[in-house]
Symmetry: C2
């Protein structure tokens, strides 16, 4: 496998990077919910931790029935079994990243995994 | 452990989210290199795949000696052994995310891991 891959993400409703970049440790999607829209279902996961980052706009994350206001610069970690649904605000689109990784899979990182 | 954690990332040179959010499957940093600056060393990894996303600005990723121009919206996957160094352009700061995950650690994802 090539040592790296690159893609440029244009404005689109949703793109999934796993196959585009040949990812092996994560799936990553970049998503835009139009103003007033929501992900159309509540979901949780079997074994994946999810990390969400809000890039633009604002909205609400409903997590286990709790409403969390989110906006640009917010990062969230969700345990696999958290029941989640994302909503854009009525007047602003919500652009966000969703990163799926296997819970507990990270061993060393940064200085303990780096070779400088 | 709580089912979720949230943090808002303000403009800063670098923040690491592993401990802030209690991540178990990834380390994620958000970084800003001022115009003309670079990460001060070349590095690779023992077992972590890295995924970079450019949020703002432009610069150069030097990967195994190859210069790759990067700008807003670019996503890169790097194999652990790729030798890498990032440079902001001379006149524009480079703001980017770096995601570390264990290579080969992802099993199911999206529909095969979701409970809807």
């Amino acid at each position: 496998m090539k040592n790296f891959d690159k893609v440029n993400v244009k404005q689109e409703a949703r793109i999934e990077l796993h196959d585009v970049l040949g990812l092996t440790g994560a799936e990553i999607s970049i998503n835009t919910l139009p103003a007033g829209a929501s992900v159309p279902f509540v979901h949780s996961h079997k074994q994946n931790e999810e990390i969400y980052a809000v890039l633009e706009g604002k909205g609400t994350a409903e997590i286990d029935g709790e409403k969390i206001e989110v906006s640009n610069g917010d990062w969230l970690r969700l345990s696999p079994n958290a029941k989640r649904q994302f909503f854009a605000s009525p007047d602003t689109a919500l652009k966000y990243i969703c990163i799926q990784v296997k819970v507990g899979s990270l061993e060393g990182y940064t200085m303990s995994d780096a070779i400088v």
